[in-house]
């Protein structure tokens, strides 16, 4: 198509658009030589070429991006980790809160373990220990009166303090296994030394399951934790220790923790000591063994 006075605009636009071949560009130039008055028009066409305003940008492009596989973005994994830990902590706090008869508010409590004749005391609720000595005492006595009577009789019936001591000196494995006991509602656990299986792990468990059933029957709000799961308390503890250790430098709410469950007394005797961790004002305890 030949360039004419009627179609030169199309040529100019094609020129501007880069659609012209070298030969055609030459033709356009020659045409403009003959029609210099149209050169201004070509300049105007050139001005119709839009220039992007580079000051207009999409803010926060990072928010559009996705995680690339095989690449761990520290911030994200850390956030995930934090959320997971926070969730676990909330479960701790929630369970503990509900499990506390008086539902005491968040407060850092000084640890006082119950010093009873109990050879093995599992203790994870400081405030509950206090309560047992006060308000809960009556309630618990009511529930455990029968149980206590029996165990006291059993203990009274036994002969020989040495034998008792020997029986009470439980092995670590035994201690570690007797854990399905919620001392928020149980002020003491008695072990007889008569040699029978009254206080075998299974029987202790069973008795406390029964106790729990009584408690639940009496007042369902007292506890919402199943003690049938033998690992419940221990798992809490392990979680608490794990978090305490891993979050040592992160969560200021963890005031103290202790990984070593045993301590050596004078004379080399190794006893299980109470371990505790304070998470956001709640203390979590392992068990304490006291030898009388």
């Amino acid at each position: 198509m030949k360039i004419t006075i009627n179609n030169y605009e199309e040529w100019m636009i094609d020129y501007l658009e880069g659609n012209l071949s070298n030969v055609e560009r030459k033709q356009l130039v020659e045409f403009l030589e003959f029609h210099p008055e149209l050169k201004a028009e070509l300049e105007l066409f050139e001005q119709t070429k839009l220039q992007p305003d580079t000051t207009i940008v999409f803010v926060n492009k990072e928010a559009l991006k996705k995680k690339e596989s095989g690449r761990v973005i520290t911030m994200r994994s850390w956030m995930k980790y934090s959320i997971a830990v926070a969730a676990v902590l909330m479960v701790f706090i929630g369970v503990r809160y509900f499990n506390s008869d008086t539902a005491q508010p968040l407060a850092i409590k000084k640890y006082e373990y119950q010093n009873t004749e109990t050879p093995l005391a599992l203790d994870r609720n400081t405030d509950s220990v206090t309560n047992i000595n006060n308000d809960n005492k009556k309630q618990n006595e009511q529930f455990y009166a029968q149980e206590k009577k029996e165990t006291k009789e059993q203990i009274e019936n036994k002969d020989g303090q040495e034998d008792k001591k020997q029986k009470l000196n439980l092995q670590r494995d035994d201690i570690n296994t007797i854990t399905g006991i919620d001392l928020a509602h149980v002020d003491e656990i008695k072990f007889d030394a008569t040699g029978d299986d009254t206080n075998s792990i299974e029987n202790v468990k069973r008795r406390f399951d029964n106790d729990l059933a009584k408690i639940n029957k009496k007042d369902k709000e007292i506890t919402n934790i199943s003690l049938n799961d033998n690992s419940t308390v221990v798992d809490w503890w392990n979680d608490a220790v794990a978090i305490g250790g891993e979050m040592e430098n992160v969560v200021t709410g963890i005031l103290e923790y202790d990984f070593d469950p045993f301590e050596k007394k004078k004379g080399g005797e190794e006893v299980l000591k109470t371990r505790s961790v304070n998470i956001f004002g709640f203390n979590y305890y392992s068990r304490k063994k006291t030898n009388n």
Partner: protein, 162 residues
């Protein structure tokens, strides 16, 4: 397209597609939402979209989001711009060519404007523009031709006023 390539697309074209949408809508927020939505759709389909097609896919998705948006909000933003441009063209003549082009651009029919925007801002070929705007290649060429003619006429009229 891998997630890595998707992120490259974000770096390469987020600004461009935003500029393109922003030229059609007056609201920063609406434009932002439309672009964000387009990227979400791209991400959902990233496994099926090839890297070299991703830009077109992105612009096309954003464009259709925008059309939906304009339809939903019946008061089309560009209409307002035309009114404003018309006022400026008669009462308050802008000598600045760039401003004049902006005003003239706002006066163009939407399809012409978008053809020129994609052509000049992003350097798209006619067939690519056709893909995005769902037009034939020859339609795109005609629209661009008409758009440039209109823009030039507008400049001529301003020059005459001056």
């Amino acid at each position: 397209m891998t997630p890595k390539e998707y992120n490259q697309i974000v770096d390469l074209w987020a600004d461009g597609v935003y500029r393109f949408i922003r030229k059609n809508l007056r609201s920063d927020d609406d434009s932002h939402d439309i672009v964000q939505n387009a990227f979400e759709i791209l991400w959902k389909n990233h496994e099926n979209v090839q890297f070299d097609k991703a830009k077109s896919y992105l612009f096309s998705t954003a464009y259709h989001n925008m059309i939906d948006h304009i339809r939903k909000h019946k008061r089309m933003d560009y209409v307002e711009e035309i009114d404003e441009a018309a006022k400026g063209g008669t009462a308050d003549v802008q000598v600045d060519v760039k401003d004049a082009i902006e005003k003239a651009l706002a006066k163009l029919p939407e399809v012409q404007k978008n053809c020129v925007l994609l052509r000049d801002y992003e350097g798209y070929a006619y067939d690519e523009i056709g893909e995005i705007l769902q037009l034939s290649e020859s339609q795109v060429k005609v629209y661009i031709f008409r758009a440039r003619q209109s823009l030039k006429e507008y400049l001529v009229s301003i020059h005459h006023l001056i």
